[in-house]
């Protein structure tokens, strides 16, 4: 129970100073949890499965799983 909560509390966080808004992460996110405006990126915590695909592939490593 405690573990599950901890896992759920981890979140994908975007560093807007690094992000190029290129959309690559949007393309590879299985549940379609990433939303990209021209210059803003957000992640839907409720649908994100924490698979970390986006974190691993971002061309500039602008995403991280925190804490």
């Amino acid at each position: 129970m405690f573990l599950r909560q901890q896992v759920q509390e981890r979140q994908v966080v975007v560093d807007h100073n690094l992000c190029f808004f290129c959309g690559a992460c949007v393309a590879i996110c299985p549940p379609d949890s990433i939303f990209l405006d021209n210059t803003h990126l957000s992640i839907d915590d409720k649908t994100c499965t924490r698979c970390e695909r986006c974190v691993r592939m971002c061309p500039v490593h602008a995403l991280s799983m925190e804490p």
């Binding site: 190029f20 290129c22 959309g23 690559a24 992460c25 949007v26 393309a27 590879i28 996110c29 299985p30 379609d32 990209l36 405006d37 021209n38 695909r53 974190v55 691993r56 592939m57 971002c58 061309p59 500039v60 490593h61």
Partner: protein, 396 residues
């Protein structure tokens, strides 16, 4: 902007602009929407296109040509290289102007165009797409239409809203980074491809000149090799080695599916074209020409469907057949070639380059080149079986 259209095209890249133009020329009411505020900006591309496949879609115009390429070189980090005869003229273009011109042609054909206008969802009735929700300059609208064409690039969400599975495996997704470098010396007639596992794992780097002192210098790596070291860091290492004194005049990030086109590119009232349909070359990831051809095929099938009054997936699926007939076998082979190159170690790749460099390539067809290379490197025969089973008729 009207509240009803025959067709709404989402995304004004090369694929979307060609689709919109073709449908408008057929006398249909077409809306082309683009979420960016300006078409073609920012550029997310190395900007190389072929002369011959471009001609059907736009007159060749010096206003968008930065460099005319007549030679290619394939290089490795050990300093070996081979000059490969060109399959045809290549241009390195200014996509700001090129994309803009393509949209202009759609406009001249009668399509309505709106920038800073995003699709936010599809409207569906009993599974059939009947319209699209959009946000235009901050206001929301529901536009009714009989056909939506998703030309929204790599980040495509429209196809997913329509129920199509577009998420590629990590091993078949290229992630890329590129600089527009200035203050360098390059041969303005030669494109270079650089290959090596330490340089660009699962991918390759390129130097595409935009003049004799500027070039698009970038690389793609396979997404499953991007966790430890980012594409940007790989590129920084490459640039530090080749162009230590360069100025950075621009930077681009991006991703490109290298799966080959989606099997399902249509649903009821929906067609997917260009990068959104994974139509880029599964080896090189070049997608501008292929996206325009895909859009043209989609428009041909859509015109027939409109004439027959049937926009069901079944009626639209002629588009998938057109694509398969022209590119199915070829792209499966290119996909296999990428897998083979990715599994080769650098020493073998170096040997291949040195072998090929000894051959009179300018006088040889692809089949002869492959046979000569296989004679020198019989261990590749095993790999070449995979190519043959994909149906590539090498000797053609």
């Amino acid at each position: 902007m009207l509240s009803h259209y025959d067709a709404v095209v989402v995304g004004a890249g090369p694929a979307g602009s060609v689709a919109a133009r073709k449908l408008a020329q057929h006398g249909l009411n077409v809306l082309l929407i683009e979420k960016r505020q300006e078409i073609g900006v920012p550029v997310r591309c190395a900007e190389a296109i072929g002369d011959e496949p471009t001609r059907p879609y736009i007159d060749i115009d010096p206003r968008w040509i930065n460099a005319t390429i007549t030679r290619y070189a394939i290089c490795n980090s050990a300093g070996d290289h081979v000059n490969v005869p060109p399959a045809g003229l290549t241009y390195v273009v200014d996509r700001k102007v090129f994309d803009w011109e393509l949209a202009h042609l759609a406009s001249k054909a009668g399509a309505h165009i709106r920038t800073r206008t995003s699709a936010t969802n599809l409207i569906r009735e009993n599974g059939q797409v009947t319209g699209v929700r959009i946000t235009s300059m901050g206001k929301e609208y529901a536009i009714q239409c009989r056909l939506v064409i998703a030309a929204d690039g790599t980040e495509s969400q429209v196809a997913r809203w329509g129920g199509l599975n577009t998420v590629p495996p990590m091993a078949d997704f290229y992630v890329g980074f590129q600089y527009l470098l200035g203050g360098i010396r390059v041969d303005p007639t030669r494109c270079e491809y650089h290959v090596g596992t330490a340089l660009a794992p699962g991918g390759y780097a390129w130097v595409f000149p935009k003049g004799d002192d500027t070039a698009n210098v970038g690389l793609v790596i396979s997404a499953n090799h991007a966790a430890e070291v980012s594409a940007q860091t790989y590129l920084d290492r490459f640039v530090a080695r080749l162009f230590p004194k360069a100025n950075i005049l621009g930077a681009v990030a991006g991703g490109i599916p290298a799966t080959g086109a989606l099997k399902k590119m249509v649903a009821d009232g929906l067609m997917v074209v260009g990068d959104a349909a994974h139509q880029a070359d599964p080896l090189t990831a070049g997608g501008i020409n292929l996206g325009m051809i895909g859009a043209d095929m989609a428009a041909q099938a859509a015109e027939k469907a409109f004439d027959a009054g049937d926009l069901s997936a079944q009626a639209l699926s002629e588009y998938e057949k057109l694509w398969r007939d022209r590119f199915g076998v070829q792209h499966r082979a290119l996909y296999q070639i990428r897998k083979i190159i990715a599994s080769m170690d650098d020493a073998l790749f170096g040997k291949l380059i040195r072998t090929a460099a000894q051959l009179p390539l300018q006088d040889m067809g692809l089949g002869e080149i492959l046979l000569a290379v296989l004679r020198h490197h019989p261990q590749l025969l095993l790999e070449s079986r995979k190519l043959i089973t994909t149906g590539l008729v090498i000797m053609k």
